[in-house]
Symmetry: C2
Subunit: 215 residues, 2 copies
C-alpha cells in the first residue's frame, strides 16, 4: 500500500468534476513522480461525516504514513518538500515559491472564490467585482514580466496559481491574454492532464455504480 493517500469525495455532480481540490494533490504527486493512492468519503453527509479528519467538512486531506494533513495549500507545501520539481532547493527561490503559493491562496483565491460564490447566488455584477478585477490586473502585469512566478521555473506556486485562475468563471472574467496564456501553458503539462482525467474517471465510475445499483 502506498504511503501517500489522497482523500476526496466518492461522487460529485458534473459541475465540479475536474475542479475538486484533490486534483491539486494528484497533480503535485504526478509532477513529483510520487506514488499515491486515492480514497473517498461519502458525498452524502459531507458537511459533517468527516469533521474528525477535516474540521471544515471539506476535501481533500492527505495521509503520509501516520501524518494526517488537511488544507490543500498545506498538503501542497508538504508534498513540495519531497521534490525539487515542485520546490527549488535554493533558499531564496524556495522562499519566493512559498510567497507565491500563499499569494495564490490569500491574495487571489480570497477574492475569486467569494466573488464566484456571489455569482452562483445570482449576483453576477456583485460588490466584489471591482476588487477581483484589480487583483487579476496585478497578476496580468506580473505575468507580463516573467514566465513563471518563482525561481525562473515551474514550481508548486504555478500549480496552485493556475488551479485558482483556471476556474471557468474566473478565466472568462475580463480579457487578460497573458494570464490566459499562462493558464494554458501550466495546464498543458502532462501531470495536470493525468490528474484531471483520473479525477473525472473516478466520478464517472461512481455514476456507473449508481446506475447498476438502481437497475
Amino acid at each position: 500500500m502506498s504511503e501517500l493517500t489522497i482523500w476526496t469525495l466518492d461522487w460529485v455532480p458534473d459541475g465540479p468534476r475536474g475542479f475538486v481540490r484533490d486534483l491539486r494533490l494528484r497533480w503535485a504527486c504526478e509532477e513529483a513522480g510520487l506514488d499515491y493512492a486515492v480514497r473517498t468519503v461519502p458525498f452524502d453527509g459531507r458537511e459533517t461525516n468527516h469533521l474528525a479528519r477535516q474540521p471544515f467538512g471539506q476535501v481533500p486531506f492527505l495521509n503520509d504514513g501516520d501524518l494526517e494533513l488537511f488544507e490543500s495549500g498545506a498538503c501542497l507545501l508538504h508534498l513540495a518538500a519531497k521534490s525539487e520539481t515542485l520546490m527549488p532547493p535554493d533558499p531564496v527561490d524556495a522562499a519566493e515559491t512559498v510567497q507565491w503559493t500563499i499569494a495564490a491562496l490569500n491574495s487571489i483565491e480570497m477574492v475569486t472564490v467569494p466573488w464566484w460564490f456571489l455569482k452562483l447566488c445570482g449576483d453576477e455584477d456583485n460588490q466584489l467585482t471591482g476588487w477581483m478585477g484589480q487583483r487579476l490586473d496585478h497578476i496580468e502585469r506580473v505575468l507580463g514580466e516573467r514566465q513563471w512566478l518563482a525561481g525562473g521555473r515551474f514550481t508548486v506556486a504555478d500549480l496552485l496559481m493556475a488551479d485558482v485562475l483556471r476556474v471557468n468563471d474566473v478565466r472568462a472574467f475580463g480579457n487578460r491574454p497573458t494570464t490566459e496564456a499562462y493558464v494554458t501553458r501550466v495546464t498543458d503539462r502532462p501531470a495536470f492532464k493525468k490528474a484531471q482525467a483520473d479525477q473525472i474517471a473516478l466520478f464517472e465510475a461512481a455514476d456507473a455504480k449508481k446506475t447498476e445499483q438502481a437497475s
Copy 2:
C-alpha cells in the same frame, strides 16, 4: 542596522490602527526575540507606489538581508523557521502548524475579509453571512477540544488565527464564547501588546508630524 526590516505604511486613518498587517510580523519577531527595524512607504499613492516590492500594492513586506518577501503568511512562515517559539521542531507538530496557518488564511480569512468588505459597503446581512457563521462555528468546535491549534502549545498558527479572528466586526459576530476566550488569551501575550502599541505609536507620531508641518 538590523537584518530584518518590516515595511508598512507611513500613516493610516484611525480605523485600521492596531490592525495593519505589519503587526503580524512585529508580533512574530517579538515572540521570537528577533531584532527588527520598521520602515515605511507612503500612504498616499499606496495603490501603485510600491508595486515593485509588493505586486498587489499592499503592506507588509519584509527584508531579511538580501531576501525580499511579501504576503504576511509567507513572511510569518519565514520568521517562524528561525524560532522554536513559533514553529515546533517536531516534524509532525510543524506540519500541523503549517496546516493551521494556511487554514487561518484560506478557510477563515477567505470568508471573513470578503464578508467584512461587503459589510463596509453597507450590506450588513450579506450573502456571505451564512458561510461565515458556518466557518466560525467550526472554529468554535475545534477550540472547544484544544487550547492551541497545533502541537499542544502556542505556535505561529495561533498568532495568525487570533489576528484574523480579533477583527472587531468578526469578533462581534454571533456568540462564540470559546473563540472569544481564545482570542483574549492569545492577544493577552506581551509580544502582541508590544507589537500593537508600537504600531499605534508610529501612526500617532505621523499625526504629530503632519500637525507640525501644517502649523
